[in-house]
């Protein structure tokens, strides 16, 4: 086979592929960038007003929720219009454990994580038979059922019915010189970084490659030995777990849960954040979350009466300008920057 290399290369040059299609920013530049970002993140609560700290914390909560959704949709290729349900499950788990059972808030997070993993895994099992639009419908059903379930009178003793549950705001532990907002900011940041690390590890592992193989070609994946049912249900479970932890954090940070915070609109918001950030690109979750949290405010600034319409126009504008989400924009910018050098 001495000729093979030459022949195949000829073939290669006759059919050019976009230069650097698979290229990512160099590891060095990337490390510096994320290091700086982390530095800003750590100093921010000491130089900002409490309300801005609170808002940034909410952004991080949404980013975590979107990260979970990205693992399912972007990495594994399963669609969900109902991730708000897992967010709600996490939020109510935290609220009920804290207010009804008097549990310390730190304990509610792992419990919510476990519960949401199991719920996601179990939902994922029957959903295995559903593809594309049918899965979208099933998860949509989940999203619209959730607020109704939370209002049901038999559960009212736990859920507080329509009124919801008010949560006491936890302060900083170990006598740390931080106010409540600053503490919750750092807690959310730490948990967000931990979850990001876990998801990043999964994506770059045997499990993550199995997820992506299923996304790209499920039949070929199963012929390569991937148990597609198990991996799809697992992806659903882990995704629900991450979004659920975001829900718990959200409940603690916002100090309130009620059925009407967890309507179908929440699921759609998570989806919007995912698309804006870039489907399949993990850091995009943060950019998507910034959009989801701040753009409605911007829309309201533009026109109080037509806030909804303004939001819609802004959304369409962003989608037209960045059809592949922030991922595409950043990649194009990095490419151009490299060419300049």
């Amino acid at each position: 086979m001495s000729t093979s290399e030459g022949k195949m290369s000829d073939l290669g040059s006759s059919a050019p592929w976009p230069a650097g299609a698979a290229a990512r920013p160099k590891v060095g530049a990337r490390t510096i960038f994320f290091g700086l970002l982390l530095l800003v993140a750590v100093t921010l609560p000491f130089i900002s007003k409490n309300f801005f700290i609170f808002q940034t914390t909410v952004v991080m909560v949404y980013a975590i929720a979107i990260l979970g959704l990205n693992l399912l949709i972007g990495v594994n290729g399963q669609f969900s219009l109902g991730h708000g349900a897992f967010y709600a499950l996490g939020a109510y788990t935290a609220a009920i454990l804290m207010e009804t059972f008097g549990l310390h808030y730190a304990w509610t997070l792992p419990i919510a994580a476990a519960l949401c993993f199991v719920a996601g895994f179990l939902f994922g099992l029957p959903a295995l038979r559903l593809e594309g639009v049918y899965l979208a419908l099933a998860t949509f059903a989940l999203a619209v059922t959730t607020p109704q379930l939370l209002k049901l009178s038999p559960f009212e003793g736990f859920t507080g019915g329509v009124q919801g549950i008010v949560i006491t705001k936890p302060g900083a532990p170990f006598g740390l010189p931080l106010n409540s907002d600053q503490w919750l900011y750092f807690l959310t940041l730490a948990i967000g970084l931990l979850l990001y690390w876990l998801v990043h590890n999964i994506v770059h592992s045997r499990t993550g490659r199995a997820f992506m193989a299923i996304r790209d070609n499920p039949i070929a994946a199963s012929s390569m030995g991937v148990n597609t049912s198990l991996y799809k249900a697992t992806a659903f479970g882990v995704s629900a777990m991450i979004t659920g932890v975001a829900g718990s954090l959200g409940a603690i940070v916002i100090q309130f849960v009620a059925p009407d915070s967890f309507t179908f609109a929440l699921s759609v918001q998570l989806l919007v954040g995912l698309v804006i950030g870039g489907v399949g690109w993990l850091p995009g979750a943060l950019i998507g979350a910034v959009f989801v949290v701040f753009i409605p405010n911007v829309a309201e600034e533009i026109s109080k009466g037509l806030a909804g319409a303004c939001y819609g126009v802004l959304l369409i504008l962003v989608i037209y300008l960045a059809p592949q989400g922030a991922d595409g924009v950043i990649r194009a910018a990095v490419d151009r920057f490299k060419r300049l050098l």
Partner: protein, 280 residues
């Protein structure tokens, strides 16, 4: 239908190997009376044959003869309505599709079925899935066991990339690669599971003359160095006749002939199936 110069290519490529191997090994796979029905269509009708260890068996037949259907039975994507398929003496029909790779049956697809948003290297790594162990928790936490398994996968993938000369595209996305490269990636991916039996479904489809020549050499190389038995479905007669030790001919779901490449080229039913095209 190029029945071109099988002798010449054959002697160049595999003379030594097929003298030693033809009919020498134990059957790796035994196909027994396999019948597959799709509604009214009888895609396979009582097909039986063996493949001996180390052999390259060519499976030919006109379009719609049932070749891919047989492949799909062997990789458990379809279940025959009757009959049996045994791998090293044990039936595979009670196993799910995803167990096949681990049991030693690897395959490529008629129209490439790559993981197109993954790099070549990652495609090959997925191929090693069945030959490695980990779970979502060990992978998420990067436990030592997961890291060890990841190193083994990396080493195996690198070996295959070198062996099948994929080095220059190893870190490119498969989606951007020309068809010929993609086929080679699929071969590397299938070999990453260290199969005992390799199923190749029309590997020459869409390749030009020179690439087909190369492919013939590649198949022999994989068989000889990769220590694997090959079932080759192919319409390119020159290729089939030059690399196969034996050939099985299907027509309308039935086996109409089996023998050496030379015998098949003289077989009246085979010739009429290809030339006549009708129901014999």
């Amino acid at each position: 239908m190029g029945w071109a110069d099988p002798k010449g290519m054959r002697s160049r490529m595999s003379a030594a190997a097929d003298d030693i191997r033809a009919d020498a090994g134990q059957p790796v796979i035994e196909v027994r009376d396999v019948t597959v029905r799709f509604g009214g269509v009888l895609a396979l009708d009582g097909v039986s044959f063996d493949i001996r260890a180390g052999a390259i068996l060519g499976l030919i037949g006109p379009n719609g003869a049932g070749k891919t259907t047989l492949f799909n039975c062997l990789s458990r994507l379809y279940t025959p309505s009757s009959g049996d398929i045994r791998l090293l003496g044990r039936t595979i029909l009670r196993q799910p599709a995803h167990k096949m790779a681990g049991m030693g049956i690897g395959r490529t697809f008629q129209n490439v079925a790559s993981f197109h948003n993954l790099t070549v290297r990652d495609n090959v790594r997925v191929g090693a899935h069945s030959a490695s162990r980990s779970n979502v928790a060990s992978d998420a936490l990067r436990l030592p066991s997961a890291r060890r398994s990841e190193r083994e996968i990396d080493r195996a993938a690198q070996e295959l990339i070198d062996w099948l000369e994929l080095g220059e595209v190893a870190d490119r996305l498969v989606a951007g690669l020309p068809f010929g490269w993609q086929k080679r990636v699929e071969l590397a991916r299938a070999m990453a599971a260290k199969p005992k039996l390799l199923l190749l479904d029309e590997p020459a489809g869409g390749l030009n003359h020179d690439e087909v020549q190369e492919l013939g050499g590649l198949i022999l190389k994989v068989r000889d160095e990769g220590d694997v038995t090959v079932l080759l479905v192919e319409h390119h007669m020159g290729l089939v006749m030059s690399v196969s030790d034996r050939v099985v001919v299907l027509n309308f779901g039935r086996k109409i002939a089996e023998g050496t490449p030379e015998e098949m080229q003289k077989h009246p039913e085979v010739i009429s199936a290809y030339l006549g095209g009708g129901d014999e």
